[in-house]
């Protein structure tokens, strides 16, 4: 079946590999540049964008503050409308519910609407282990699934693939799991979409059980909402007899009035559209219309842990729009796989550590450092998640989690720096030592004829040891003969 993110290396190593892939770099640069421009244009059209962001953040914060009450209200409304509500603490519990429903109906396959929650719990792999095939029907998820690949973007999981690669995957893989790609397939987008339609149509018409997530769950009416572009979701939500939806507990909104705010923010932030093509809503079972058996799995899987984090809980406002990925200069260059999770990019760098906790594995602990703290994500986020502040707080949590062990080189360097910077006098002494080192480097440079100056300042070419991290690709000026503070003292602030 498909691969999982298990065993991925920490971010710096995974990023190094991605950065060396010219096809990936080119695909990502093209895709993110296009989507950024589209988003900027449609966001600029909305006069009160900032106040909408503030409202959305306030609604979500209020929901999170009274999450227990909203969830019970949601359960009550759903049950009254004929849905069966399940509570899942973990990924395993959520997957077990879906498998049980499929078994109860004697099926060995389900069709899926694109959903982050089911990716997060690795539902497809759990089902496969029990002999149940889960068919992804979103075009991009289909590309990822057929290619035995991993998603690299929340909204556009195959963003790392271009048309030629997709055509090759369709030609090679479609026939193995269903209707093969047409013999004369080209990499024309319309032809690729047609091949996917023909392939998927068989699965839609055959499947008895559909599986989805939900973008929102409206508590007072017991309504689940799925926002999508292709219509495949609508097929899965309406054709099968049975529907199971796995929904993160943070997806609840109190009312349709609140929903309105998010339906304005989401499409503009994610696809750069004023309105998405398909918005499906359903409230339990409607006799004679759509699935006649409806299950809703309310998923925790670390959300309670994130909720307990005073700084980090704002990450639970996230509506999975992926605007932060598209504007992130790190994501644009490394792509999503480097983050080792179905949640990549800036939101992934905070959400994964918040859901899993830090101090347990190196990969998760590397994520809060996968950012320059440039702040582009915070600026773009429609629910005003202050990602840089959460990143900084999580870095402190990572460091604190390792304080009891033997200090590493970084911790020792930080302690030494803290001592040096503890007083102006100690810093002045360190600067005198650094000027001496600078003179020594100058002398060596002259002897070895590696003497290079720019604007009168000698440059250090390459340093050994930890300094190589800087000088492998960047010059570094030698320390000056005289520090600013020494100059100030000598000249009385330039007066002499």
């Amino acid at each position: 079946m498909s691969r999982t993110f298990l065993g991925m290396p920490p971010f710096p190593a995974a990023a190094r590999e991605a950065l060396a892939d010219p096809q990936l770099r080119s695909n990502l640069a093209h895709a993110t540049t296009t989507i950024r421009a589209k988003r900027a244009a449609v966001v600029a059209e909305v006069d009160d964008w900032e106040s909408l962001r503030l409202r959305a953040a306030a609604i979500k914060d209020d929901v999170l503050l009274h999450l227990d009450e909203h969830l019970l209200r949601l359960e009550e409304s759903l049950t009254a409308r004929g849905a069966v509500v399940h509570w899942a603490r973990t990924a395993e519990e959520a997957s077990a519910v879906v498998a049980e429903v499929a078994r109860a109906h004697g099926v060995d396959e389900v069709v899926k609407v694109k959903s982050m929650a089911t990716q997060e719990v690795e539902l497809n792999e759990h089902l496969a282990a029990q002999g149940i095939s889960a068919w992804e029907t979103d075009l991009a998820e289909l590309i990822v699934q057929l290619g035995d690949d991993l998603p690299s973007h929340i909204l556009v999981p195959a963003i790392h693939r271009n048309r030629a690669e997709i055509r090759a995957i369709f030609e090679r893989e479609m026939g193995r799991v269903g209707r093969p790609a047409p013999d004369d397939l080209t990499d024309d987008p319309a032809r690729l979409a047609e091949a996917a339609r023909l392939h998927l149509r068989e699965k839609f018409l055959r499947a008895k059980v559909g599986v989805s997530g939900a973008n929102f769950a409206v508590a007072d009416s017991g309504t689940l909402v799925v926002v999508e572009s292709e219509g495949n979701g609508r097929m899965c939500l309406t054709l099968p007899e049975v529907l199971v939806s796995v929904v993160g507990i943070e997806k609840v909104v109190p009312s349709w009035t609140d929903l309105d705010v998010f339906l304005t923010l989401l499409p503009r932030s994610s696809t750069g559209e004023r309105m998405n093509p398909y918005t499906s809503t359903w409230s339990g079972v409607t006799p004679g219309d759509g699935p006649q058996e409806v299950h809703v799995v309310l998923l925790d899987n670390g959300r309670s842990r994130a909720l307990a984090d005073e700084v980090g809980r704002q990450a639970l406002r996230c509506i999975r729009c992926s605007a932060c990925l598209n504007v992130c200069p790190v994501y644009e260059r490394t792509g999503g796989h480097a983050y080792g999770s179905v949640y990549p990019g800036p939101i992934g760098a905070i959400l994964n550590p918040l859901l899993k906790g830090v101090g347990h594995d190196e990969q998760t602990d590397s994520l809060p450092y996968a950012s320059t703290l440039c702040g582009a994500c915070f600026e773009a986020c429609p629910v005003r998640i202050d990602i840089p502040s959460v990143l900084v707080d999580l870095r402190a949590q990572v460091v604190d989690a390792h304080r009891s062990g033997v200090p590493g080189p970084e911790a020792l360097a930080m302690r030494a720096a803290a001592a040096t910077f503890g007083s102006g006098r100690r810093l002045a002494a360190a600067e005198r030592a650094s000027a001496l080192a600078g003179r020594a480097i100058d002398a060596v440079a002259r002897i070895t004829h590696r003497d290079r100056r720019v604007g009168g300042r000698r440059l250090i070419g390459r340093l050994p040891g930890p300094g190589a991290g800087w000088t492998d690709a960047r010059d570094l000026p030698t320390p000056p003969e005289e520090s600013f503070r020494a100059w100030w003292k000598r000249t009385d602030g330039g007066a002499r």
Binding site: Y369, V392, M414, G456, E482, S483
Partner: protein, 250 residues
């Protein structure tokens, strides 16, 4: 008004000409400036790497150095951002209510250089002359954390002889990111290489920014490429009064 120069540790130890340039500009504008010798580092490298306890003594030193001044001016968007937005976090961590109070008093009085010149002194023309083509990179923390807007460009446009060329994708991060530059060196260099390419595309002689750290990163890439583009801090350009061939000490 008692004005203190917060020169920043990187300018003090590595780029003293930036501090001297601020002094030159202030003297030209008739502003009396002190350099409290107790000052060291704002603590940002520790805070942004997760070492909050290690930042506590630095914030104490900062408070000791700068309390009592009406304005603390720094040629760095990043260090101004650290003092204004992060010192409160560190003070909170220390559990010292006195430190938290002192930080709350000083933080709002910390100004990045272009903010101080434009907003506090009400000056855009500082009497500089720099007959060169220049492109300006707005550093992330000055742009998005402080919101300095177009103040640096307004100052640059008033410099005699200076030709300002727009930098493509100017608002994108250069990839420095403090310890990110070392911990994620590959990604940092990939970002910096694109920034350097955009700088070279402008054909400008000089890349100007308001943070020496970002300039050390992009400048280090540019000299490694033998690009023949020099980097200068905004303060150094504003201090210049000479003709062609002046300036550019890095």
């Amino acid at each position: 008004m008692r004005v203190a120069l917060m020169v920043t540790c990187i300018n003090d130890a590595m780029f003293p000409d930036v501090g001297k340039a601020v002094v030159t500009v202030f003297r030209r504008l008739g502003v009396d400036v002190d350099f409290p010798a107790d000052q060291t580092c704002c603590g940002q490298p520790m805070v942004n790497t997760g070492y909050l306890d290690e930042a506590v003594p630095l914030v104490r030193t900062f408070v000791r150095a700068f309390e009592g001044y009406d304005a603390v001016v720094t040629p760095s968007g990043s260090c101004a951002g650290s003092a204004r937005h992060q010192h409160a976090i560190v003070a909170g961590r220390s559990g010292d209510a006195g430190l938290a109070t002192a930080v709350a008093e000083i933080s709002p009085r910390v100004h990045e250089l272009s903010e101080f010149l434009v907003d506090v002194l009400g000056v855009e023309d500082v009497g500089a002359s720099f007959p060169h083509s220049v492109t300006y990179h707005p550093t992330c923390h000055s742009l998005r954390m402080l919101g300095v807007g177009d103040r640096p460009e307004r100052l640059l446009r008033a410099v005699r002889g200076l030709r300002l060329i727009e930098l493509p994708r100017a608002e994108e991060c250069c990839g420095f990111g403090g310890t990110f530059a070392m911990k994620n060196a590959d990604t940092s260099v990939a970002m910096g290489a694109d920034k350097a390419r955009h700088v070279r595309e402008t054909g400008a002689e000089v890349l100007v920014a308001g943070d020496s750290s970002c300039l050390m990163h992009v400048g280090g890439l540019l000299t490694r490429q033998r690009a023949g583009v020099r980097v200068m801090h905004l303060a150094e350009v504003l201090a210049s009064t000479g003709g062609a061939g002046t300036g550019g000490r890095r």
